[in-house]
């Protein structure tokens, strides 16, 4: 990749005499240095601290310690890092960063003098206007953000930032051989503008004289915008962002029963944990709801047939949740749709004890339907007491409406499911988080507020990844779950359950219907029949695509990506031969991005991945180490805590394949762990 990027780092060390003067006033100084931003990120540390020690000479003995804090101006993360530091016997703090970092640190330490060891510098020619690097990239082109863009008149070359005199109505007349008279190293902006306009077939003629209104917008307008933005970004939990929702495609479509497949491919592993053990033989006839796979071990789940017919094989089939094949039971439909006699409504389930309810959930093969697929009976047997049940109705992924439609159309069943789980966990307090982009669901739920007074519905401002359980716990209860992989919600007394799972629990307990069908959203681009469908588990993705496209599906994957799940976290399907599993929240069809993520582009250290990471991590390091092939180093930056929400890759200004690096690094960490 061609390198044209500039270094926009914003500070340089103070002159040696001035640093000397600062150190004369200090006895013991702890030094904080910022790793700098807006530069091509090729080396982890620039050695600023070593340079400082060299400058100090004998005074270096006064340095009590040093810590590099990347993006020091990120108050939330840096505050956490600095408060955890052992400052020893230091009586002052020296900061090597731009003015933002110094002021932030000075604000943190009320009683300790904080000294700047560097000067902040601007990059524009016409300092001190607010010029330069406020785009995200490291381009030469700068923008003074003057709020009156002239580019349409000047061939896309800004006279405000490029003309030494900021002239708006043509050249001053002082340029010689195309060079500026103020600085002969600089091209005259107006000569460049003239040349560009000539190339474009336009004329350097405005017809009227431009005067510039320097008065707008007011400082207050600007500040209000920043305040609004600051509040909306930080709201509820650190990190995240608000993607285009695209929910309108299917938000108003009622759940429809999808036709039974001719052949159902029912995977024996539709959960986290051990694969189920098949208990039927090829050639045997099975009925709808009949158990065909037995949970094998504690963390495992039962599997049921979704159609009636003849079992024809147990064989490896392409698996939708990972790029591999998995063992599946293949059943040929006999078209009779005969129910298994075990599927019977249950009366008096309200009085059943906790253990009986858990047994029903286990026998019904229920797993977390939000996509995680963790066996529910295991999850609901926490080793620690739980005081609050959080019901996750966020559905923050773009396009998906599965949970939304369930809340609208099956409101009372979900609330009854909550009641069952409350009995199992013995919790009184239930908070149900629903994003505000689902007003119909919120209205439907609130109609039952008298009948189910213990369930409190909270409308949340839409934000991704709010549906991630840690984010939701932080948002609703302001509790911090200890970091993964060890920390779990019950460590802070919380259990989180998705609305789809609660609906399935109700179906299993009250109606006796095991987990052989689920609601999925089929949405995206280029579909004739997007919608919300109740599909049988094991329905081939090809059947669903054929119906929703209303045409032949051959060649679909050449132009489109088909993801199982939503647009962000969904798993791209290599072919259409896999089938719906319990964790299929939807199928999202997206026109393939003309420009994809790449491993080669340079990181410009803009820090946006750090801003959006809900786990408080620094994803840019995963990219750096990944590219350098130094996988083990990512552990120093806690890669094992990553929840793979994809925020960093989504936001990355250089479109670096961060997730694939992270997955490699996590795999490496796991293998290193084993020995």
């Amino acid at each position: 990749m061609e390198t044209h990027l500039r270094d926009y780092t914003k500070f340089r060390p103070k002159p040696a005499e001035e640093i000397g003067e600062v150190f004369r006033r200090a006895n013991r100084m702890f030094v904080l240095s910022c790793g700098k931003c807006y530069k091509v990120f090729e080396q982890e540390d620039e050695g600023q601290y070593e340079q400082l020690l060299e400058t100090l000479g004998d005074d270096a003995s006064k340095v009590a310690g040093h810590k590099r804090v990347d993006f020091l101006c990120n108050e939330f993360l840096s505050g956490k890092k600095i408060s955890g530091l052992d400052l020893g016997d230091s009586d002052s703090i020296g900061v090597m960063s731009c003015g933002l970092g110094v002021q932030f640190v000075a604000g943190l330490f009320e009683q300790t003098p904080v000294y700047a060891l560097s000067d902040s510098v601007a990059h524009g020619l016409n300092y001190p206007s607010e010029v330069g690097y406020h785009g995200i990239s490291l381009e030469d082109d700068s923008c003074a953000a003057c709020s009156q863009c002239y580019l349409n008149l000047t061939g896309g070359i800004c006279p405000i930032t490029n003309c030494a005199k900021g002239l708006l109505n043509g050249p001053c007349g002082g340029a010689t051989a195309g060079k500026c008279e103020v600085n002969s190293d600089v091209d005259c902006a107006w000569v460049r503008i003239h040349d560009r306009l000539t190339k474009r077939g336009e004329l350097l003629s405005f017809g009227y004289v431009h005067t510039r209104d320097y008065s707008r917008p007011s400082w207050k307008t600007q500040n209000n915008l920043s305040l609004q933005n600051r509040e909306s970004r930080g709201e509820g939990f650190y990190g995240g962002f608000h993607p285009l929702e695209k929910k309108e495609v299917t938000a108003d479509r009622r759940i429809e029963q999808f036709a039974e497949p001719q052949t159902a491919v029912i995977f024996l592993c539709q959960h986290i944990g051990k694969r189920a053990r098949p208990i039927v033989e090829p050639g045997e006839m099975v009925k709808v709801g009949q158990k065909i796979g037995e949970a094998d071990g504690f963390v495992s789940a039962a599997i049921h047939s979704s159609i009636s017919g003849k079992m024809i094989a147990v064989e490896d089939r392409p698996y939708p949740a990972a790029p591999r094949k998995e063992l599946a039971v293949v059943i040929e439909n006999d078209g009779k749709a005969e129910m298994h006699p075990s599927v019977q409504p249950r009366t008096g389930y309200e009085a059943l004890p906790k253990e009986a309810l858990l047994e029903i959930i286990k026998e019904s093969g229920i797993v977390g339907l939000g996509g995680a697929m963790f066996p529910t009976h295991v999850k609901f047997s926490p080793p620690k007491p739980v005081d609050t049940l959080l019901v996750n109705g966020c559905e923050c992924e773009p396009y998906l409406n599965t949970d939304n439609r369930l809340m609208i159309e099956h409101t009372e069943e979900i609330l009854a499911g909550i009641g069952i789980v409350q009995r199992i966990l013995s919790v009184d307090r239930v908070l149900m988080g629903v994003e505000e982009n689902k007003p119909e669901a919120i209205a439907a739920l609130s109609r039952f507020s008298d009948k189910y007074p213990s369930v409190q519905v909270v409308s949340l401002k839409t934000k991704y990844p709010q549906g991630a359980e840690r984010s939701l716990i932080k948002r609703l209860l302001d509790r911090d779950v200890p970091p993964p992989p060890k920390g779990l919600p019950f460590d802070v007394g919380v259990m989180v359950s998705n609305v789809g799972t609660l609906f399935a629990i109700y179906q299993a307990v009250a109606k006796g219907v095991p987990m052989f069908q689920r609601v999925i959203t089929v949405s995206g681009e280029g579909l004739s029949r997007p919608g919300n469908y109740l599909v049988k588990i094991g329905t081939p993705i090809r059947d669903i695509m054929r119906h929703c496209l209303a045409k032949d599906v051959e060649g679909l994957l050449e132009e489109y990506d088909v993801k199982m799940g939503g647009a962000i976290m969904g798993i791209p399907q290599a072919n259409l031969d896999s089938a719906v599993i319990k964790g299929t929240t939807g199928l999202t069809v997206l026109r393939r991005h003309p420009v994809g993520v790449s491993e080669e582009r340079d990181c410009i250290k803009c820090g946006r991945c750090v801003e959006v990471c809900p786990m408080h991590l620094y994803p840019l390091f995963y990219g750096l180490y990944g590219k350098q092939g130094d996988l083990g180093k990512a552990l120093e930056h806690r890669v094992e805590e990553c929840v793979e929400c994809g925020c960093c890759e989504y936001i990355c200004a250089s479109k670096i394949a961060l997730l694939s690096f992270i997955r490699q690094e996590k795999a490496y960490a796991r293998s290193a762990d084993k020995g």
Binding site: A106, V121, P128, I157, P594
Partner: protein, 203 residues
Amino acid sequence: MLAVQIKAKEEILPLISSKRLFIFECLGCRDVHYPVEEAQELIGSLDEEIVGKATLDYLCHRDYSREYIKAYAPEIDEAQVILVFSCGVGAQVLSSLLEDRKVYTGCDTLYLSGFQGLTAKEYNCGQCGECYLNYTGGLCPVALCSKNLLNGPCGGSQNGKCEVDPDMPCVWQQIYDRLARLGQLETMERLGAPKRWNASPLQ
């Protein structure tokens, strides 16, 4: 950092009327301050033929934008005008990549104070090249005093508020308070050398 505002339709129309358009829309800073709805409204209200539209983020990233231009080459060739919705940096990068094409912007860009670092924050920095924070208890008079005074307060503040804007605290009052807490009030007596206003640009 910056915010993007959509230009008035009357301002853009003379440049694009009855031309075939290709539209670039940059969502890179959308999460921060790109008015998606207003842009859609304007685009939707145009009578001109739109031959193609690319929605991307970080149009200001040249490598990335170049790949987009390649991906949409046929549509861009067919268009007479390329209309860009992005900040001034993005518009300039695109203009320079499509030097011989008419590239126009539909946006004005305005500066957001307190955003020049990475994160939304309380502090601002004037990047003046000559940091005063060591003498002011870590509070910047260049960025925070209405009058940019460097050698103490103007004397016009009332109850700790600035006389220019009574909603704004007097930074020299805050500096005094902080220095008092640090036991460094004597630094208030330091008279700084005249500021080198040319100290900054790193060009």
